[in-house]
Amino acid sequence: MMRGRSIQYILSVSLIVFSVVIIIVVSTVLYSRFATTAEENAFRNSQQIVDQVSYSLENNVQATSDLFNMMYHTITQSGDVDSEMLKRQLATMMSTRADTVSLALFDDKGQLVTDLPDVAMKKALDVTSESWFQSALDTPNHLSISLPHVQNLYTEQFRWVVSLSKSITIIHNGKPIQGVLLLDVNFNTIDELSDRVSLGEKGYVYILDESAGNIVYHPQLQLIYAGLKEENVELALKHTYGSFIDKTSDDTKIISVQTIGNVGWKVVGVSYRNEAMTSISELNRSMFQLLLALILIVVLLSSIVSRRISRPIKQLELSMKNVENGNFEQTVISEGPLEVRHLADRFNMMITTIKKLMRQIVTEQESKRTYELEALQAQINPHFLYNTLNSVVRMVGMNKNEEVTTMITSLSKLFRISLGKGKSVIAIADELEHARNYLVIQQMRFKNKFDFSIEADEEVLNFATLKLIVQPLIENALVHGIEPSVDKGRITVKARLDGDEVVIVVGDNGLGMSEERLAQVTAGQITSSKGSGVGVMNVQERIRLFYGQSYGLHFESELEEGTTVTIRFPALGMDQAEGREQEA
């Protein structure tokens, strides 16, 4: 399918390279664009959710702290903590919030002073070891908020609570003592709030205590304690706010952090980056498939297109080969692009021209041969020989020995030149000599009915000419011009050089021709039945065939004045002319 550098190969390769480059560029741009947007969205989503959770938590903690402070002030401002009035007030306050579990007041030895609601405490209760108790005493006037823990105060109750505690000065049994006020709040609210949050399919939220790095809430806290799962708390501890990429585990995670100021907790959102990037990988895959599909389509298309282009070209090539082998058939190409069809049209036209030219050459060759044959016949015209010999016999009878000698000599010279060496080209000097001999013979035969003169420039004599072109014209002048005339005739033959052309003029003062007849003669419509057999037309055609269409004979004639025939052909040396004869 891809041999060499065929059109198909070039087309396919360039199209594939082009489309692959385009798709790669487009997918890269799209990918990076989408990836950035997707990541930004994931970051924003995650941060928003974490912010919302933090906000709710902060509100919740704030409201609880407010309640605690209100109770705290109520207790410090009341006279005696044991009064029924105070207990009722505190009970009302507690009922304003559903998530309060218990309120308890201990003295600094850990002995219970009062509590709400009034249920049985554990017998072996020792609160002094509890962290909320210690931190309240260690940092007076500061509200301590504990981590969620299991409440260890009441019998048969193990509830998850967050403890708010603060040291307090109370009047108990009439004297002021130092104590600790404890408000336990249900952990349910926080637990549910954090548990309901969804960050993608697998993402979650956990809460971190920033002072010690303890996890306050985690949906899989037990797995963390069991060492089955790890949470990268260091990263969350480092930052107070913002979203970050965590690459410490196998799955890249997006960590969003928001700090809750009033408790010192951090809400940390964990979502999985590959969830956000699912669409990206799908896009990637789609792009890849698109690329493959495009390559296939390009291969298919380029094969079809290049076939459509190359098939007519191949067909053309085949026809050319046929022409080479001499089979001049026209090709018919109906398909293919316009250019190829134009090419085929041109080719067809060329073939037509070649065929025409070939036909022309064949005709020319045929006529050339005919004329030359005629000329050859004329060389030994028996009629002319018979007449001349008759004249000789007559002259012998009249004892005109001298004249006989002249005639025979002329005849001999005539034949020598006309037979020549079988060549059709001779020197102008020879041709003129031939003409002179002919004229001498005819002068004798016609008993000096005419005079003649032959003049030739010296320079023209050595140029070449076709054989037997002057004699037929002289014969023509004699037969049609001088013989019918009653006056004494005169024939002039002049040869000269006109530029690079040879001009031979044969003139007579005979009858001449009417314009009508002249036109017919010029057109070659008249063929004489008399004469030596080689007609004027033979001369005309031979000159044209040999030298070209622009050369040949020119007739000028006037009735009673005579006729002048001008022969015009290029001046060629004997070598040149002989070379041309070989070609022909």
């Binding site: 498939q289 698109l290 296939l296 389509i297 291969v299």
Partner: protein
């Protein structure tokens, strides 16, 4: 290449490119890959009552949420009803789950089930109780034999190496109970002063165990008791509490419940050996999923046990273990 072949190749190219195009515009057109949500895992537990099993359930649910798989759970009405559980398990095979997480009530009973599951090429992950009657992909649970040994060591320590002890076992103890018992018996050799005088059996709720212990205490003087599961531990502790015999008779229990922790705090018993059922449930689902996906899973995963006494029960990392449900 003749014309016919060329046409065929062209058509093939066209079809291929069409498929690719459709796939490019419809994600999932060519996807054969199993999505996590297509994986169904059948969980068969011994019970859904009590802190222990609820904790297991919480672990499985955490895993379901994390991995996005589909889970079905079946539990028998009665924990001791191994045949009933087998029936439910066999029935669940008909739904052709991708993997099964099984906490079996009996070992031999489940031989036909394991055979059937193997024939269907469904991987079985045993949690809580080891199964030896067939092929399982993995066992996730406590080393009960070692736990039994540890229980005896603890009791021996309490008794300072001298005294008569009894084992209280419950009918739902299954293979775990047997392994724990074996561990105790084998550990006895190290303590020549300790004598195993009786093995008390009970069934049903903890009251029957309580009565059994009461009868035993009427029969003979005991210095220590090892109770092999929750019910047995509760029953024994309650009887000791009623008789105010906690000082005289030391008790080592297994597993935890609110009542047990309350009594542990009140010194009615000395130690509890506690597992991490949440992890067990979580890992059960995790490995079942990996087995369903054809990944390699470890043949045995041991869940760490913890020894809980009244001092460490409120430690941070124990709170979540002992009080899994926030209430």
């Amino acid at each position: 290449m003749n014309r016919r072949q060329r046409i065929i190749i062209s058509i093939m190219l066209a079809v291929a490119s069409l498929v690719l195009l459709i796939s490019a515009f419809n994600p999932g057109f060519l996807e054969r890959k199993q999505k996590p949500s297509d994986i169904t895992i059948q969980v068969i537990l011994r019970s859904n009552e009590g802190d222990y099993w609820q904790n297991v359930m919480m672990g499985t649910q955490a895993a379901v949420r994390e991995f996005g798989i589909t889970m079905y759970t079946t539990t028998p009405y009665d924990e001791a009803d191994a045949d009933g559980q087998l029936k439910a398990a066999m029935l669940s095979l008909e739904t052709n789950p991708d993997a099964i997480v099984l906490a079996a009530s009996g070992d031999e009973t489940f031989a036909p089930f394991l055979k059937e599951a193997a024939e269907r090429h469904i991987p079985v992950i045993a949690i809580d109780s080891l199964l030896t009657s067939g092929t399982i992909k993995s066992y996730i649970g406590m080393d009960n034999y070692a736990a039994g040994q540890q229980a005896l060591e603890e009791l021996a320590g309490q008794l300072e190496g001298k005294g008569d002890i009894a084992i209280v076992k419950h009918s739902t103890g299954g293979i775990n109970g047997e392994l724990r018992e074996q561990g105790i018996v084998d550990a006895l050799v190290q303590y020549p002063g300790i004598r195993l005088v009786d093995r008390i059996s009970c069934e049903g709720d903890h009251n029957s165990c309580k009565e059994a212990v009461a009868e035993e205490l009427r029969k003979r003087q005991l210095n220590g008791i090892v109770a092999l599961n929750t019910e047995a531990s509760i029953g024994a502790a309650m009887q000791l509490k009623d008789e105010q015999a906690a000082d005289r008779v030391k008790l080592i229990g297994f597993d935890s419940s609110q009542e047990l922790l309350e009594m542990l705090q009140d010194n009615q018993l000395q130690k509890l050996i506690v597992q991490n059922p949440f992890s067990m449930g979580y890992l059960g689902i995790k490995y079942a999923m990996e087995a369903a996906l054809g990944h390699k899973v470890p043949a045995r995963v041991e869940i760490n046990r913890k020894l809980i006494d009244r001092n460490n029960m409120f430690w941070k990392d124990n709170q979540k273990l002992l009080f899994p449900v926030v209430q």
